[in-house]
Symmetry: C2
Subunit: 322 residues, 2 copies
């Protein structure tokens, strides 16, 4: 479905009557319009904002592309469950729901430098899992991920989609040293050679170069559109899933905002390609949905301004002269 | 007083043990260090974050520098009291305290195109009022203002402090048309001619070109420093008060962050001159402390991450290899 133009118009009309100079809330005003358009409600509501984090493990970790061992993926899920991670604190600060999905952590994907990450059945099933995961009345969805090695996967996806020198999409991830960065770049380059000739179809590219959290995220973005749930994207890895959908259909992300621009890799360039303008720009590169959650705090305030403010008439405030 | 270097060190040491790659929270990490340094606490605390809004009226409004009548200043204070303004919604969204101070609204300042805004006694008394206003256990102070005509005042202050063509500091404020912009620019130019030769002392400049909310804000920034309260500045008008203090002493704002960069006038240039990097950049230009309050939401999340996250040891998460 497309944006609800009636809801959009209703928000613009109300906005013009609120006790503030026209345009003075800047992007907060655009966000209110966007929420209404994609929720399909003339008064946008955020009652169940929720961050969904998808977690997966990656065979490519065998290539020495991360300074952390693969076991950290599961350990961090336990940290999420115990409330000890950054995302827990941000969700608590803004009263956001938080859900984590373990996507077969004990079965890492295939090493993309040697084989496809997923077979066709797994890829489709994981997308379907992501579509189901966002049920339950969510009205603003933040998407995040956890997966040691997945900035390598993101880099491979961008390089596969956009071509050119793959190294420009390769960042230091969780903090690689120079040697590690060389290994990571080499891994991305090898993956592109191995899968060359099979990357023209974005979904086939996703299956070969992706990962379970990427496939589930793509499914969640699609399902959110069908269910009229506006989506807040997190950083470099989540945007890779979005980029696959955008390659299929340039309007596929119209119901999404970029929560933030990550310090990882070429995120700024990628967001420009996708036509997404980040809400937050604070040099973060943690993942876990942390950038999305921070932006959801801003989005909540934007919705609160639109729905809670008095009009000039209600407040007895004089509007502009002339 | 200066920053508490011991508290700063304690935050950096704890930060290095938290369950995240070093540096991955970007500016949120810097904010935690800044909070600790200026609160003088090894664990920064935000229990009573409060937005203080100072309101004043301006004689220069007689020059046709605003599309809104002067009566709107008081009407907006009534809107604040009734909970109908944007700042009310943002404070509610982030659980921030909110205080408004009416600074003799019935006695506008002198028209700066013809006389000094304030006499010496009023200027000093208003600064002292601002110093007192922030008492009551505030541990994070957001500063905001309300005053029809006060972007003209801010422009005059910047032009007086920084010289050059005054027009570059003159913006459209609440939404001036081209004719209004010409009147506003002319008013600033006339004020600079009238007061020429008396602007070398920043406090004398504040008295002649300023306003009550600017003087009170300057007092509040000073008192916050003495009371170890970190300060979040709002936009174009609040920064003018900060600029006066900075002209007196370039270290005077070390306990302050710029909450946002306003779309008004030359705010970006001014922040660069002051060495302040905005937390939020969303094209807002409302005043009322709205940009500061939005940033306080981010700062609350930054503090929550630092104090609430588990360490690698506590969470049983493996740290980096090698």
């Amino acid at each position: 479905p497309g944006p609800d133009l009636g809801a959009e118009r209703a928000v613009r009309e109300r906005d013009a009557q609120l006790t503030k100079p026209p345009g003075s809330l800047g992007r907060l005003e655009d966000i209110a319009v966007w929420l209404a358009a994609w929720q399909g409600k003339p008064k946008p509501e955020i009652n169940r904002p929720t961050v969904c984090v998808f977690a997966g493990n990656h065979g490519v970790v065998a290539q020495g592309v991360s300074p952390y061992p693969q076991s950290v993926t599961r350990q961090m899920l336990e940290n999420f469950a115990a409330g000890g991670a950054a995302i827990n604190q941000i969700c608590a600060a803004y009263d956001l729901g938080f859900k984590v999905f373990d996507l077969a952590l004990d079965i890492p994907t295939g090493d993309i430098t040697q084989e496809a990450a997923l077979d066709e059945k797994s890829c489709v099933a994981t997308m379907a899992f992501g579509m189901e995961a966002i049920s339950g009345g969510i009205d603003l969805l933040g998407l995040g991920e956890m997966g040691i090695g997945n900035t390598t996967i993101a880099a491979a996806i961008y390089a596969g989609l956009y071509g050119g020198d793959p190294s420009r999409f390769v960042g230091r991830g969780t903090g690689l040293d120079d040697e590690g960065l060389k290994r990571k770049t080499a891994a991305v380059e090898r993956a592109l050679v191995i899968h060359a000739g099979h990357l023209a179809d974005p979904l086939e590219l996703l299956r070969r170069l992706g990962g379970r959290e990427i496939a589930a995220t793509a499914g969640a973005i699609l399902a959110a559109r069908l269910n009229r749930i506006p989506v807040v994207l997190d950083g470099y890895v989540i945007t890779a899933a979005a980029a696959v959908l955008h390659a299929l259909d340039p309007s596929a992300l119209d119901h999404c905002v970029a929560g933030h621009v990550s310090a990882e890799g070429a995120h700024r360039e990628v967001l420009e390609r996708l036509g997404l303008k980040p809400v937050i720009d604070l040099g973060m590169r943690l993942g876990e949905g942390s950038g999305a959650a921070l932006a959801m705090g801003v989005i909540k305030a934007a919705a609160a301004c639109h729905t809670g403010m008095a009009t000039f008439g209600q407040a007895g405030v004089s509007d502009r002269e002339g």
